[in-house]
Amino acid sequence: MSLHNVGIVYRKELMDSLRDRRTLISTIVMPLLLIPVMTIGFGSFAVSMVKKAEKETPKLMILGGEDSPGIVSALRRLPDADFVPDAGDYARQISDKVIRAAVRIPPGFEASLKSGDPESVEIFVYEGELKSELGGQKLRAFFDDLRQRTIESRLAERNLSTAILRPFTVTKKNVAPEEKVGAALSSAMLPYLVILMCLTGAMYPAMDLTAGEKERGTMETILTSRVSRTHLVLGKFLLVLTASIATALLAVTSMGITSRMAADMFAKDLPAGAAQQFKLSISPQALAAVFALVVPVAVLFSAALLAISLFAKTYKEAQSYISPLMIVVIVPAVASLMPGVELNWRLALVPILNTSLVSKEIFTGTYHWNFIAVILASSCVYAAIALAAAVHLFQREDVLFRT
């Protein structure tokens, strides 16, 4: 009779939720639709913006250079670049996007090249602005090439080989596992996404099953039945947990499929390394380990959301309580994405952030078993506290019948 009732409540809540359009949207449609739309949509947008910028013929300005006609005319012959006359206000024109970049050729530049005196060429760009940087790159490439040719001719004049400039070479070799290199971007994003989806998946059912029931008047109906309040809250909790985990699983599946599609779609438009960043290559063990770590987090969210929503008299009131919680969850999840934030014993005890950090490691093939054990244990403790609080609140009539 006892736990049997938890199952009865759970089955009813499941049936009820599966018929609720809002729950279906937040649990199933959102992860299945939002992620592909965001990944492919954003990816296509970014790729098309870069391509468009690359295709554009940049307007460039030459400052000075009156006594270096050879270099100026070589510059003007550059393909896919328009040169405008020196108007003096190059900085304003770059800021206003009238021109993309400018180059200042110092007085007597050609003569200095011949005599061997050192000189300095300045290139002006609007840093962070893609089209301006591309214009600057064009100018830089020209002068890099000119410098190289000048060096070669000077060495040739002295009968020296260019090898003299390279007494040895330095090569960087990678020791990180293959998948760590391949999926750096997606592995950083994935734990964040899974944790966020656990929260959003649990949010709507938690509010519907507590504040929503109070608002619709069914809470009093169910409280007059034989079921104990503990069994009632456990049945409801299991449903919220199911929604939370289902949303996270769907999100991971959706992201797995989408990332492969995106990598293939953008492969021809992006450098090999960049396309690889889209690709998720996660081993089944990593997925299982992360799943085991995420379950207590989902329990924590489900129980906390139930407890908070139970305080509210209406669905709207519950929403206003829960919105700030989103920020509380997003901040530690985002913190794990920041460069330099690495697992240590202190961070291993910070809920959400700990799971996010260790999942990132696991997805990239590194298993710190000590941390994993501590994080799993601490997450279980937090989850148990939240669940105990939710069960306790369900016994309090001043919460159930708050006026």
Partner: protein
Amino acid sequence: MIEARGLTKVFQDKKRGAVRAVDGVSFRCEPGRIYGLLGANGAGKTTTLRMLATILTPTAGGATVAGFDVVAEPEKARASLGFLSTATALYGRLTAREFVEYFGRLHGLSEDVLGERVSALLTRLEMTEFCDRRCDSFSTGMKQKTSIARVLVHDPPVMIFDEPTTGLDVMTARTIISFIRECRERGKTVIFSTHVMSEVEKLCDHIGIIHNGRLLAEGTLEDLRVRAGIRDLEDIFVKVVFEAGGDSA
């Protein structure tokens, strides 16, 4: 049987401090009888009935429902009662059949018994035409029938009705009134709260007048008439409340 002994409920209110919503209410109701709790809005009727239904815990005093103590054995007490009020709503996304079955299962009915019981109830309450439709599409009458089926599915010996006709049209209210009568005929113990005098006159074997949380007068309609020296129940009610120093409005 229902027996209340000095039932008291004190709520803590932020502005008003401790509020005694129900103050030492005692009464009893035997099987096959209807006890009417008559009082104005805010008199303490709903709080009293919620304590009997174990939804609220008494601050002091106690009660038994079918022999089960509402504080010590709340689940057994709930298993023995059916509670119906206009505040007890239906799950809109379930069909009437699913709704009734859900409560039957929670009351521990086996699937065989449940199937027979639900079919019999749906036929008896003339619900077969709409019982497989979702409750959110129901008219008020359909909703009330579904609620009646819910409180009957486990065949409880005690029935509690908290202002069950409030806000209902005449025809739906009549269905409820005749259902309450039927409960008495079947030998159930019935507690019925209302502020409608005519319903009390029509239905109740025993009447308790409640005001400001206290039970001011109790007895059969005839007892109350003799004691007050007036025939009209409304006048009796006003007199009792006035004599207790309360506001009769």
